[in-house]
Assembly symmetry: C3
Homo-oligomer: 142 residues x 3
Amino acid sequence: MKVFNTSFTVTTEEPTEVSDITKIVRDAIQQFPVTNGIALVNTLHTTCALFMNEYQSALIGDLKSLIERLVPERGGYRHDDPRYSDCERGNAHSHLRAALLGRNIAVGVNNGELMLGRFQSIIFAELDGPRKREITVQVLGE
Amino acid sequence: MKVFNTSFTVTTEEPTEVSDITKIVRDAIQQFPVTNGIALVNTLHTTCALFMNEYQSALIGDLKSLIERLVPERGGYRHDDPRYSDCERGNAHSHLRAALLGRNIAVGVNNGELMLGRFQSIIFAELDGPRKREITVQVLGE
Amino acid sequence: MKVFNTSFTVTTEEPTEVSDITKIVRDAIQQFPVTNGIALVNTLHTTCALFMNEYQSALIGDLKSLIERLVPERGGYRHDDPRYSDCERGNAHSHLRAALLGRNIAVGVNNGELMLGRFQSIIFAELDGPRKREITVQVLGE
């Protein structure tokens, strides 16, 4: 069994921006000689998220509404208050939304293909854009 | 180190149905000659969830109440509105609940046994039943 | 490729207590002869959480406020009601908060170092303290 590492960058243009990165991850994995194993996808950031779901534009709108309802952008957060924090970005909501959505994907690789169901996409959510985000992909397998 | 793959099906009968699948996963793993390693459990679907918690019936009732409170079944979702979506199932709440609960379990295998604490169960939550659901199990180890 | 296992204990003093365990995990990993691979960090409990985020005291205060708002300590839970449950601890809120925050970290190891971004910390959240908590670390790699 071997380990392979790669990474890629996602450039975002909106404060909150959700995109389907399945194809990028699939292409990244297929460059490695792994038939069976697992793939881990991680971000190196704390204000964006990675998760698996159906990628459908109306549903993505619902997801944005949900996180705005559960974690409003203006929520009187201490992290955004100069009396308690030296953070100048005012992005507590981004951190808290990331904590709810998660930032880690572990998915199987079988016969050289990601083991995804018909409606499953690997979804990246920018929660504090615009930014450049680094996403790492590791494959363990044989 | 080797990789082993298997899968099983859970058939659900209710719209929301939570079950303890620890024993199924344990039995699936013990057929493989792995003493030390990790096990990954995934669903191939986007409207059900996998997570770890105590499986106790009163607590499962509380969990169902929580997800209904945070993500109501009827929430005026775009995914359920024919003006914005061709989804005929009206299951935005199922997708959004799955996004909050997660769908991935990674757990250690030591001396051929799942490394679980006394109260930890691997829990499957159907969020858009009744359905047949496929759950994959992978074991990496030696 | 090899698998290595270790564990450590976190002793908490408050009902809700959030701490940065990155250094403990890093030290645990560096005792193993692994250059490239993955590390899995798990708790063996159902009322505490593990996740990745920035560790900043004002933000941790915001996180505590968020979970109290989404899952109030006194929420009329069945798990805490002797008519439905024999649990004497009254800790339904702890279980439900753990379900939202997650309890599993998978992170890469590259050149013998955890692959963490500049602001990423591995964060442990006690949600039902004071307690002693066991946290396991596994490293798969070569």
